[in-house]
């Protein structure tokens, strides 16, 4: 696993601040310049102050945007310049309680929008930044303002925002278009065509109905949506009906992502009752995928090891597990497809996992 935190030596900050690490020259007063480097220790000059970061020698920190929190011995790597996997955790609050949630919600919220804004400002050219939660849109007003200011400041930066889709209004159309509908991809989960099953999975009565309303609003606004469906025992047999529903009711989506579960958080607690071994039974997925493909809607399989997917569908399974939480099994050693495969989540447990897989 790649650590998303960096050990730092004490720094006299009184509130969280964001800076960019540079090896050569500063181009902003938020840049810290490397002045000294020895085994595992990088010393930067940040406006005359020394900032000492401890990191493995091989690690490239140039261009990384980090956040220093007062009194903490580590800094958050908000943007790793060399990685496409950069996500800001906007909040840990959430108004749904999904059975497979990988990051169960917390009550407390620390507001870091100004810091995120600075991080966007300092991000590499054409960065694609993820915003996640919790439910980021619980802080609707701040999210919209953040996106508006960020969009104006950095016309080249694009966003991928994970939201439960419970908070879009018809009147948001203007703001969405102001930010730029082609610059934001909203990743929104929908688990079943049946309201009961969907509501049960997300632990919120009425969620399906509200989601339908939001999706309709997003469609009218011209927003770009990635519809996300975690495949589970609860919704597996419903997938073909959901595919049909998508073709008829949500024809505007940019892609339908069918996702395997992460065995962490509630996903770990509910693994036995929820994990669907799609390596042993892929049937409903076939039908669902074929339906949307025929109708011209892109389908994609996220977090599926290639060997768990039947050959005709493998090209739909990009390597999606973030670099920092990806692992391979011992048996992957001899696999010829390893380079193309996203592998397994760090917290995947094989004896409770896919039964029908073997190296390709």
């Amino acid at each position: 696993m790649i650590d998303l935190r960096l050990k730092i030596e004490p720094f006299p900050a009184v509130e969280p601040f964001v800076l960019r690490l540079r090896y050569d020259a500063a181009s902003s007063e938020d840049d810290a310049i490397l002045v000294d480097r020895e085994a595992g220790r990088f010393e930067f000059d940040y406006n005359g102050f020394s900032l000492v970061v401890h990191a493995p020698d091989g690690m490239d920190l140039d261009g990384d945007v980090i956040m220093v929190l007062p009194g903490q011995g580590s800094a958050h790597r908000l943007v790793r310049a060399a990685s496409p996997h950069n996500t800001f955790l906007v909040t840990e609050q959430c108004d749904q309680l999904c059975v497979m949630c990988s990051q169960p919600p917390k009550k407390h919220h620390a507001d870091l929008f100004p810091q995120f804004l600075k991080a966007v400002e300092l991000a590499p050219d054409r960065a694609y930044i993820g915003l996640s939660g919790g439910e980021p849109m619980l802080h609707r007003e701040k999210m919209f303002s953040f996106l508006e200011v960020a969009a104006a400041a950095r016309p080249d930066v694009r966003f991928h925002i994970l939201t439960n889709g419970q908070h879009f209004e018809e009147a948001d159309a203007g703001r969405l278009r102001g930010i730029g509908v082609e610059r934001v991809l909203w990743g929104i989960p929908l688990y079943a065509r049946s309201p009961e099953i969907h509501d049960e999975i997300v632990g919120k009565p009425g969620a399906f109905e509200r989601l339908q309303c939001s999706l309709s609003n997003l469609m009218l606004a011209g927003a770009s949506v990635e519809l996300r469906t975690v495949v589970m025992r609860q919704n597996f047999s419903e997938l073909p009906a959901l595919a049909n529903y998508i073709c008829n009711r949500l024809p505007f989506i940019s892609v339908w992502a069918l996702m395997q579960m992460e065995r962490i958080g509630y996903g770990r607690m509910n693994w036995a009752s929820s994990f669907m071994d799609t390596s042993s039974d892929f049937s409903a997925l076939k039908s669902a995928i074929n339906t949307v493909c025929a109708r011209g809607i892109e389908a994609a399989l996220y977090n599926f090891p290639l060997c768990s997917v039947p050959q005709p569908y493998r090209h739909l399974a990009p390597s999606t597990i973030s670099d920092w939480k990806r692992k391979y099994l011992g048996s992957c050693e001899g696999c010829g497809s390893r380079d193309a495969c996203g592998g397994f989540f760090e917290w995947y447990k094989h004896d409770e996992g896919f039964r029908g897989i073997s190296p390709l």
Binding site: Y128, G222, S224, T320
Partner: protein
């Protein structure tokens, strides 16, 4: 019935469109006001999202009536997963779809180099807490350096070239690591409490 067969009026005559001039909103003239116009606008943006590295065969390119043009039509070789051009680049779940903004980024927004600073068009919320604190410390450091004869510049709370030289000299004299910056050791040596 024989000459003019259009017994039922055409789209235009049916009163859907006020006049010939507006007859082809389909042809690109789209009003901005109405909400649902965006349905149509949306269609024009459709090509924005393409699977990275896998541009759709029919994306925006047209074929004329007499010659099908480049390419091999719809049926191309069964995708072999291992051919690099067929494989999606390693992207996270959050970034599988690479939006291709169909505008050129404002050149003023991206100055030279990848990681250059971007002048903000709108003032971001500043964080006065830290700036004040940093300034306070710098003033204390400049005062002390000045007291000990390392610095004779202005006490302005900013580390400029003169302060750096002073810091380096002081570090050298005190047997500290020479960085020209304010380090915890410098603060200790000057008895400044900052943490």
């Amino acid at each position: 019935m024989k000459t003019r067969i259009f017994a039922i009026p055409s789209l235009l005559a049916a009163g859907f469109f006020p006049g010939k001039a507006d007859a082809m909103p389909l042809a690109g003239v789209v009003e901005k006001k109405s909400l649902s116009v965006s349905i149509f606008e949306r269609l024009k943006l459709e090509h924005v999202y393409t699977l990275a590295g896998h541009r759709s065969h029919s994306s925006h390119r047209s074929h004329s009536s007499h010659r099908s043009s480049s390419g091999t039509g719809y049926v191309y070789r069964t995708p072999k997963y291992y051919e690099p051009q067929q494989v999606l680049p390693v992207l996270p779940k959050t970034r599988t779809y690479q939006a291709q903004p169909d505008y050129t980024p404002d050149s003023s927004a991206t100055a030279s180099g990848d990681l250059s600073a971007v002048p903000l068009k709108q003032e971001l919320k500043v964080l006065p807490g830290n700036s004040d604190k940093f300034k306070q410390i710098v003033i204390q450091v400049q005062n002390a350096l000045s007291l000990y004869g390392y610095y004779d510049g202005v006490i302005d709370g900013k580390i400029g070239p003169q302060s750096k030289v002073a810091l380096a000299k002081m570090q050298e004299d005190y047997g500290l690591k020479v960085t020209g910056t304010i380090t915890p050791e410098v603060l200790n040596a000057l008895s400044i409490r900052a943490y």
